[in-house]
Symmetry: C2
């Protein structure tokens, strides 16, 4: 069975929809409203584990406005006619839904044409951008103007700076900039009824500090637009990192299974002191307890800053790790920034603020992988940043593997331990998506079961793909899902006709909840 | 005219209120429901500029529960009977309303008995506390247990850790810990209808990372409970700073008025690089342009961390400031932490994580000040962190002074330039509150006019006392007060009977807005 073509959104009459399309064409121009099957198919999610199946989520139409006023006018019509709208920034968050809606038949509101870098301040180190601005765009603007500020790119550089932050994404440079939502400062949002809000200090008409002070006055509403469906973000500010003078990195190694405990305690101290500011990582090696040679665990600590400072910081880190019996240490030479093009070719570029697309080599055809995948989905629970939790997770993985996979080899990649969130640990397992429907179904079932089992241990996913949004929301169940009830109450208030991104992150509008 | 005694809350029948009081006594025990005039008077705001006048805001009664379940039960009754409730943590935020409600006749929900330090983790550097926990309480708990973590106290140490954070307060140690709301991680909240919500990772029943990952999954609602009236926070987590090894501080001086421009540009670079992490300050001296001797501006940069690291950081800062022609430099000797008791007696203790009450010497009777004040109110607009903005503010101050004061000496203190917010500058002017009603009226009028004039320039207050909450909210006027409309929409959804803290930060429930 193929993915359905949906000519009219659910719950909308043909006449109402035709009328809306006519009005939208007046607003954005005829070429920017897409209703033909071929154009709309471009919004399908190539990574969907339900590709070409009935469960695949597909759009009915798409609109690409060029200005905030157009977004407001579009929303007013959708609000009046109760037409489901699914805003996307650039729609490049592959693995998390891409440009396809959560509710099939929604009209994609594609903001890619709103791609203006509105401001970049080197003196105060911030940027104000529209949702269509990609990491490449912002990087190029900064390079062209010769400004000494860094962006923090995530793995795929073609994604939207706004979209990635709203989706809870992160990057690979220094704290606090690599927490993209956390590093934002100020938003402009179109609400479901077309009203236009600016948050934080931007709520003053003539504001001078919109990108300098995030909190403003009174309740801070920005969090409502994260991983959600409460509004359409049309501008967003970000704090940028002054370009650092230099970079250095060290790696501590330990020999025994239980050494992960002091290893992580040491890492926590260094990161919580902010002596180590780069995106650290934990590696599980083959040494004692791992069944082969070499160290059992490794911990890499990159540091950015002035040369003399990061030298002192790395020496301090080295001395702290040296207190673990049997530990080893190695380090990279200090590199002055900007790197030479030769150096740049030898490093992971995202760690040096340069966006690229090399991450897409994951799952690609190669000498080692003759059967390329069509994409992937990430199982990525947040666990405590302790050695005990790390060991518990690995045991959990081993013990539940046969149950969730039914004993089959489903070609997972992982688990990989990541510490690029401020205080917690993410353990990632990559599930391949292929064009083999039976295999995809097994992966989907395994993913769902693992979400459930991890939730029972108190470990939750930090984001997920549309196919699993309800499953993950189900694990956030304190007091019989009190947080979801609160989300729904807010949703019903700010989007009373329930038109924006129904189902996103498990939040459904009233008329669908009740149906 | 004296402040009115209000025996029954507005809009509530005597019978309903008597019934509620009876039920509340069953819940918390008779001694913890206060309705007699003398007990209720203890909740008056000693710093009110309307002391003993009709405009003074006073409570009708107070309840002091001891547990979250009691708060839930109290709120259910208030919700059912539409009784206005004003939750306070310890009610010690003098200058910002103390324990008195914004709406006269509200019942104060006093959470001071809920003063349990539920958890302090040294390994992962966080605390989980109830709202009645003061900075003294948390400090003492940490000292007793000998844990190597620091709290970040604001000036008055008797305040609530939760209350200060919710009110948008800040302290004096290192970034990012001194932004108290920003450093929190996870909340438990009782909603108006008595429902109980945990936010972030706490929304998983069995959560293991409530105080380690703040964002959780889906919309982040924590911001709604900042400076607001959307719920009653009953638990809150905070990231703590590992106790630093050492402290050092340097002061750069410049000679000319315009030197503030490179001085602040240099400071911004150092802070945005996180090379300087302490709470920096800018002083306006008497030198060229200031009408007397000495340097024109000073900038002090404290740094916390390992000894070798902060030495390298201060040297780097010194070299950066030295690039400003004519600048000077001085520094304190490096101090190892913990300080000796002798050292502790010579420093500002809040900068070394020790809460105290010495701030109350402001306005106290002394050889220099024979006429003590009864309190103060702060005018504290947020301006851009640039020298140009600093100069503009001082000009604005001089030019508007005669207008706002009517040419009288109202005994202001300030302006004082503070940079303890991450990226912006706060300029503070302290207005004394006395028992001279005519003088207070002039101060109130001057304050209101300055709020208005500053708002026209795009400068907004970051918090304020109840007497001025509507005035300040009025300056946040983008798109005809769109943010306030959004706040009201959310308020009407989460507190449909409008019972919590009516008027707080300019947000009024529907039935009062419409009346």
């Amino acid at each position: 069975m193929a993915a359905p073509h949906i000519p009219v959104p659910p719950g909308v009459s043909e006449a109402d929809f035709a009328d809306a399309v006519r009005q939208w064409k007046d607003i954005v121009g005829e070429p920017w409203v897409f209703t033909d099957e071929e154009s709309v198919a471009l919004y399908r999610d190539g990574y969907s584990p339900f590709w070409d199946e009935a469960e695949e989520r597909v759009a009915s139409a798409a609109i690409a406005p060029d200005a905030t006023e157009q977004v407001q006018a579009i929303m007013r019509i959708a609000h009046e006619k109760r037409i489901p709208i699914y805003p996307i920034s650039t729609g490049r968050n592959l693995g998390y839904g891409g440009s396809a809606p959560v509710l099939s038949g929604s009209v994609v509101l594609d903001l890619k044409r709103m791609n203006r870098v509105l401001e970049v301040s080197e003196r105060n180190a911030y940027a104000l951008v529209e949702p269509g601005v990609s990491y490449f765009d912002l990087y190029n603007t900064i390079e062209e103007r010769g400004l000494k500020v860094w962006i923090d790119p995530p793995d795929p550089g073609w994604g939207s700076v706004v979209g990635n932050a709203l989706d809870g994404g992160g990057g690979w440079t220094a704290y606090p900039f690599r927490d993209h939502f956390g590093a934002h400062c100020g938003m402009e949002v179109v609400l479901a009824n077309g009203d236009l809000v600016r948050t934080g200090m931007g709520a003053i008409s003539n504001s001078k500090t919109w990108q300098q002070n995030r909190w403003g006055y009174g309740p801070w509403v920005d969090g409502l637009f994260r991983q959600s469906n409460m509004g359409v973000v049309t501008k967003m500010g970000f704090h940028l990192m002054p370009r650092p003078d230099a970079y250095i990195s060290g790696t501590a190694t330990v020999q025994n299974e239980q050494d992960i405990v002091p290893l992580l305690d040491t890492l926590n101290l260094l990161e919580n002191q902010h002596v180590v500011n780069g995106s650290t990582s934990i590696g599980a090696g083959g040494g004692p307890g791992g069944g082969a040679g070499g160290p059992r665990w490794t911990c890499t600590v990159p540091i950015y800053g002035p040369a003399s400072v990061i030298r002192a910081q790395l020496d301090y880190a080295k001395a702290k790790f040296a207190q673990i019996p049997g530990s080893g240490w190695s380090e990279t030479p200090l590199m002055t920034i900007p790197l030479t093009s030769e150096q740049m070719a030898s490093v992971r570029q995202v760690s040096f603020a340069k966006p690229n697309l090399s991450t897409f080599s994951i799952g690609a055809r190669s000498a080692f992988n003759p059967n390329p995948t069509s994409g992937h989905i990430w199982f990525s629970p947040i666990v405590p940043r302790t050695g005990e939790a790390m060991i518990e997770f690995y045991r959990f993985y081993q013990e539940s593997l046969a149950e969730v996979t039914g004993g089959e080899n489903l070609n997972f990649l992982g688990p990989i331990g990541l510490t690029n969130w401020e205080r917690s640990l993410i353990l990632m397992i990559m599930f391949p998506v292929t064009r083999d429907k039976a295999m995809n179904a097994k992966n989907v079932a395994a993913f769902r079961r693992w979400v459930e089992l991890a939730g029972q241990r108190g470990w939750g996913e930090y984001r997920t793909a549309p196919a699993f949004m309800d499953d993950v929301a189900g694990t956030y169940d304190f007091n019989n899902h009190a947080l979801r009830r609160l989300h729904e109450t807010i949703k019903d208030g700010v989007d009373p006709n329930g038109i924006i991104s129904a189902g996103r992150y498990g939040i459904w509008p009233k008329h669908i909840r009740e149906a």
